[in-house]
Symmetry: C2
Subunit: 189 residues, 2 copies
């Protein structure tokens, strides 16, 4: 016997996990057993076949929480009064946090607040020019962060000041003051 069955199976699981693109044939030669043994192992471990695995990876990618990219707003917007106030919720997932301690990275909370502030401005172009932020409590994986943004002033020079406060439950975890540049619309033209 090359390697006890149990050992082989757990190793098999690992091998497939970090390389889902491997065929049964390759696994068979790798573990120096027949292809049928590999199939039996997959059955017992309920590991799907190659094509199913690939499909899974692909679909996962498509409906990915392509979290801080691609989406216009980071988190789910649950309320929006243009030029006035907005609220979004973001659940902290493991990929948002440091793996060592499961504390959300600062720029995740910043991104939620910043994208909310930008979404609040009803203009073709809105760009953050300045921000002043404080992280008042660390946020852990699994917690849901509710960000509340409101416009404190629309200045004459085409800038708006927006305050954002984020909460977990009733605890404030983030405070930010954003200055956003907005391009025309009610102004020139």
């Amino acid at each position: 016997m090359r390697v006890p069955k149990k050992e082989r199976q757990t190793e098999l699981q690992h091998t497939i996990e970090q390389n889902p693109f491997i065929t049964d044939e390759a696994l068979a030669t790798h573990f120096n057993v027949s292809i049928q043994t590999i199939r039996l192992d997959r059955m017992e471990m309920k590991i799907p076949e190659l094509r199913e695995r690939i499909k899974h990876v692909a679909t996962e990618r498509l409906d990915d929480v392509r979290t801080l990219t691609e989406n216009e707003v980071i988190g789910d917007m649950i309320d929006l009064k243009l030029d006035t106030s907005a609220i979004s919720i973001l659940e902290i997932l493991p990929e948002h946090a440091f793996s060592r301690n499961a504390i959300a990275r600062g720029h995740i909370l910043f991104a939620q607040a910043n994208s909310l502030a930008i979404a609040l401005i009803d203009d073709e172009l809105a760009l953050t020019t300045k921000a002043n932020v404080q992280f008042t409590r660390s946020v852990h994986v699994g917690e849901r962060v509710v960000a509340k943004a409101f416009v404190s002033s629309h200045r004459q020079d085409g800038r708006s000041d927006i305050n954002v406060e984020s909460f977990v439950g009733d605890e404030c975890v983030f405070i930010g003051e954003f200055t956003v540049y907005r391009s025309s619309k009610e102004e020139s033209r």
Copy 2:
């Protein structure tokens, strides 16, 4: 004839692009032609078969720049002197930017700077507690942002102040002052 060949082919391309998981058979019934016609079309348009398309989507996902998540540092660190200074480079990709105008979202630049500041601190735990940032020039897709961070002070209370300046060429695009909390190591215990 149902639809002219050319028209069908361009439409085919679109259909497959936004749903790579469709089989030739489904396409055939959809366009009301034979399966062979679909295959000929794919040949001419050099569109690979279903399984290849799925595999492509899946592999694309694996070497994804899972930009603001998962990576410890956003961008590529090219220099690091612990507790002193660090430099990282980030190329702005379309997914980092607003689709309307190809200008990088503010939180992308913030994330680069913030993660660099955190990486700079040689401690088990380092958390941003405060940040003060300015976006001095908008950054466009294709530009490479070089962030330079240096520690301005290690305070007695377990906090460090870090300044970050980001450049595109010799133009400053971002200025940030970060206050980072570091947990012990040289302190208590």
